[in-house]
């Protein structure tokens, strides 16, 4: 066993599974020896096939702060190697291995006074949901604005929970392909107007966290620096498919 920063691999047992959308599922794992995580961190998940073939993928933690437990949200990538198993097949009692909690850069600390601007593309909302959950669970009064871009209402992960009214937290949805019935705007991509809100402009100096697929992250980061946010205040995390 190596003695690096990750502490190596831990055996994890699935103890809960909850569908969130037609393609995403929240999996709860029991992981003896796993340290408590911080909002924004992720885990590496390793699956081993009967023939010994192994596949490893990184998944963000949707809830943090509790040792020996991991709440992952996994969105199915249709031709993926790992995510279809985790979304469609894994059930309580199944075993896998995890490494983490990982990452120190894309992390919000509840002691930070804020403001905080969160920008999510698709299932990139997961680490930002962890930050939102941590804020709601703490005494933090940091102003939060969460901008969530999703294809359509059926793809919105955790929308009811995210929309729960909370003083100091504002949520803004952008539908890119299909708007809900009666929604005031047509489907469109995230634009300057979505990102520039009073209290969260470049002059307010917010900590900005952007997470999503690579194309989304790069487009959003370009808009944000165009609005005057210092590039090093815009923290990004890209995820791929599999």
């Amino acid at each position: 066993m190596t003695a690096g920063a990750t502490g190596g691999w831990h055996v994890a047992t699935v103890v809960g599974a909850r569908p969130l959308t037609r393609s995403a599922r929240e999996l709860t794992l029991s992981v003896p020896g796993l340290e408590a995580s911080s909002p924004g961190q992720h885990l590496d998940v390793r699956l081993t096939a009967p023939d010994g073939y192994q596949a490893t993928r990184a998944y963000s933690l949707a809830a943090t702060g509790q040792a020996e437990r991991a709440d992952l949200v996994v969105d199915r990538v249709p031709d993926g190697e790992v995510s279809p198993y985790l979304v469609d097949v894994a059930r309580p009692g199944d075993l896998m291995e995890v490494r983490g909690p990982l990452g120190g850069y894309f992390v919000w600390r509840p002691g930070d006074p804020g403001p905080v601007l969160l920008v999510a593309g698709g299932s990139g909302v997961v680490p930002l949901l962890a930050m939102l959950r941590a804020r709601r669970a703490s005494s933090s009064r940091a102003p939060f604005r969460l901008v969530c871009s999703v294809r359509g209402p059926a793809d919105a992960i955790g929308r009811e929970e995210i929309d729960e009214p909370t003083p100091g937290v504002e949520v803004h949805w952008v539908f890119s392909r299909e708007s809900p019935p009666g929604w005031p705007t047509r489907p469109r991509r995230v634009a300057d107007d979505d990102l520039a809100a009073p209290g969260f402009t470049a002059a307010d100096g917010p900590d900005v966290f952007v997470c999503g697929p690579t194309g989304f992250v790069e487009a959003a980061a370009a808009l944000l620096t165009g609005l005057g946010h210092a590039p090093d205040r815009v923290r990004t995390e890209r995820f791929g498919g599999a």
């Binding site: 690096g4 920063a5 990184a58 983490g100 990452g103 120190g104 990004t236 995390e237 791929g240």
Partner: protein
């Protein structure tokens, strides 16, 4: 060990687990200086191509290879030839 062409590059956050097998510090917050162009930034902001065998970390400025990480049965191997240096974060280091 290049990744399939249809996969977009990720960033240094994705390599935290792999690099954590080799280094005892939080690698996403470590500073790395590109030996080719001199750009100096945290590993989290570099580009990363992750494959089944390991990862290639490239400079976000000039695209030169900074680090190559290979997982092997006898341990995790990191080539740092493209980096002038890598500086571990201090425990109290914050991103900004």
């Amino acid at each position: 060990m290049d990744r399939p062409a249809h996969d977009a590059p990720l960033d240094g956050n994705a390599v935290a687990g792999l690099l954590g097998e080799a280094f005892a510090f939080e690698t996403t917050l470590a500073l790395v200086r590109c030996a080719t162009c001199g750009r100096t930034d945290v590993v989290a902001r570099a580009r990363a191509h992750v494959s089944a065998m390991g990862a290639i970390v490239r400079c976000d400025g000039c695209d030169a290879v900074l680090l190559v990480v290979v997982e092997r049965p006898d341990g995790t191997l990191v080539s740092t030839r493209g980096a002038a240096w890598l500086r571990a974060p201090r425990p109290a280091d914050r991103p900004y």
